[in-house]
Amino acid sequence: MTGALANFDLGALARALTLRAGHNTQVVMAGAAMLGLAAGVVGAFAMLRGRALLADVVSHSTLPGVGAAFMVGVAMGGEGRSFVPLLVGACATGLLGALAVQGITRVSRVRDDAAMALVLSVFFGAGTVLLSVIQGLGTGREGGLKTFIYGQTATMLEGDARRLGAIALLACAVVVVLFKEFRLLCFDRALARAQGWPVAMLDGALIGLVVVVLAAGLPAVGVLLVVALLVIPAGAARFWSDRLSVIVPLAGGAGMAGAYAGAGVSSLAPGLPAGAMIVLCLGGVFVLSALGAPARGLGAVWWRGTRARRRIALDHVLRAGSEGAGGSAGPVAAAAIGGACGWSGARTMLVLAWARLRGLARTRAGAVDLTARGRSEAARVMRNHLLWEAYLVRYAEMAPSHVHFAADLIEHVLGAEVVRELERSLEAEEPAGAPAEGAGEADAARHGAGGTA
């Protein structure tokens, strides 16, 4: 440890994160990273199996086990605060908590959310009482026990870090070996049971892993926050991929990185609670993922939405421009377009500016006129519309009178690939079945598209 730092020191932080901050800090950070890895990997499945809340119940339920194991350890003349007995005790009551939730929902009419709140508070209450009793005993060895509530990494010894590494190895091994089975369990339990998989056993294995990881994380992160190790990396990883085989290692990596960084930061000052720092670092990873992930992040979603709206607006301008005044593709009043689409004056200006920028339209004295490029683009849009109309009439067996409204919205999402497919399937019967409404417009569109294709 580099001593108490009242002020934040970037150099010290850099030294810590690059493992140059002294042996103890290295041990703590490596241990935390192993814990984060195990929790991330297991948490991905726990989240997909819908077990996040149950994990919170488990983590709170470990507290009485910690107290009991401490008391037994001291009574047997031991140190009390050693890793393995506390881990065993924590696992025991954590598992008991999970079973209690299941039992209560099965035999009584209490719903599962209520059962979880009930078990969580009762077990945590029992744990708190047990800890205060231990404080009252005055054995002199209970000093660090209270850190189980908020977590403290400073007391982590090299052996502890090794054991965390072993747990991470175990978690990864189980997940790799049972990947296929866990995937089926999390996606479709009915099929798993019908195929004869021992669903209760697989569920038990998953919950067992959750319990072990949570219990192992107690000393470092604490009862209150340890569930974050499971849930946050998995949630963050979900933003980056739609593949389970990618999400699981990503969650492991995110957990590892967050725990490593959090432990490093908290080592800079003894006053910084390690558990909270780890959770904050994980939270940072989550926020970055939520905002910045390319496909599912909020930024990408916002951008796609904006682009789609802009495209829909442009399509309206193109249609209005090509339909013109009374079918002759002449200039149309800008105000008329905006009025027909329900746009404000400012929005109309913006849309038209965009159309000009794309080289689709010209505006002169408040009137909009399509360029050659705009006209061919308009033909494409209207052809899409027409194909949709025909598609809806033929395939969806919808009343033709309803088609127009629906198609007006759907044409904006028609991709080129779908259009080609529709063309192929419709071309055979095309001449006979043109919709009666707006036949002239249909012809114009078809010719226009033929010219640009």
Partner: protein, 282 residues
């Protein structure tokens, strides 16, 4: 086709007279009773499925249609009774039985591709720990093609339409290469293209000598799609070939007073006031 018995509820039935052809029947149900708590859902159901046919389970909401399937597959523990497949218990023949649950029964935002889901149909064959090999993936891909989704295998399942999702489930069942299929409302809420694709698959399965038992909610299309029917309302009201068992009288007894509504709709349709199907928006 096997000898069909047309039993009616309350008809006398001696306990020792189990059907002698049960070994050749893909599904024999004997005195099956299922209860949720104290409320019976299925009451003394007896049935022998004819091999190589498409069978519809028809009945009102809460009649126990899904329960019958789930009990047959051992997903529910019956209060009493016995279900056999080709004369053997489910545990011995589960590899020959495929299952399509209701579409809403799973989370379609789950991070798997359509092909991943279809591969799950082969997990039973692959067994513990082993990965999904290339041969299994190819088989799964072929099943996707059979339901017309050959080019959507890599798409994440939330980006499929409802009908496509249903077809993925059908493909997954095909990947099980079973001889008997249970499908829970495969036609519920699907588009016309999917309905046709599923019907094609069902007919292909029948022509291969396989048996399909579907929970079916649309009384109108039973005659068109199915060979045999089970009219269910807690007990079996009638069962047998569609031509014999699917009568107005039996439907009336299955649906009770609610069929009058269907009658009114049917008459309106006959007068041409309502489009037969897909006309919900009108």
């Amino acid at each position: 086709m096997d000898v069909q018995r047309h039993r009616r509820a309350g008809a006398p039935r001696s306990l020792d007279a189990l059907p002698e052809h049960s070994a050749s029947s893909p599904l024999s149900i004997h005195a099956l009773t299922v209860a949720y708590g104290r409320r019976p859902v299925l009451w003394n159901v007896d049935y022998d499925a004819p091999a190589g046919s498409l069978i519809a389970i028809v009945g009102p909401n809460g009649a126990g249609k899904s329960t019958l399937i789930r009990a047959a597959l051992g997903l529910l523990r019956p209060a009493s009774g016995k279900v056999e497949f080709w004369g053997r218990p489910y545990g011995e023949v589960r590899g020959r039985i495929g299952y399509v649950p209701q579409r809403e029964s799973v989370d379609w935002d789950f991070p798997v591709s359509a092909l991943d889901v279809v591969c799950m149909g082969r997990y039973g064959r692959i067994g513990w720990v082993r990965r999904v090999g290339r041969a299994h993936r190819e088989a799964a891909r072929a099943c996707l093609s059979r339901v017309g989704l050959g080019d959507l295998g890599d798409r994440q399942i939330s980006r499929l339409s409802g009908g496509q999702q249903q077809r993925v489930f059908i493909a997954r069942a095909l990947a099980q290469e079973a001889d008997l299929y249970f499908m829970d409302e495969p036609f519920a809420g699907v588009d016309a293209a999917t309905e046709r694709a599923i019907v094609d698959v069902l007919r292909a399965l029948r022509s291969e000598g396989r048996t399909v038992i579907c929970v079916h909610h649309d009384v109108q299309s039973v005659r068109e799609y199915f060979d045999a029917v089970i009219l269910l309302n807690m007990r079996i009201v009638a069962s047998g070939p569609v031509g014999e068992a699917f009568t107005r009288e039996n439907l009336q007894r299955t649906y009770g007073g609610r069929l009058t509504l269907l009658d009114a709709a049917g008459e309106a349709m006959a007068r041409g006031e309502v489009a037969p199907r897909g006309g919900h928006g009108a």
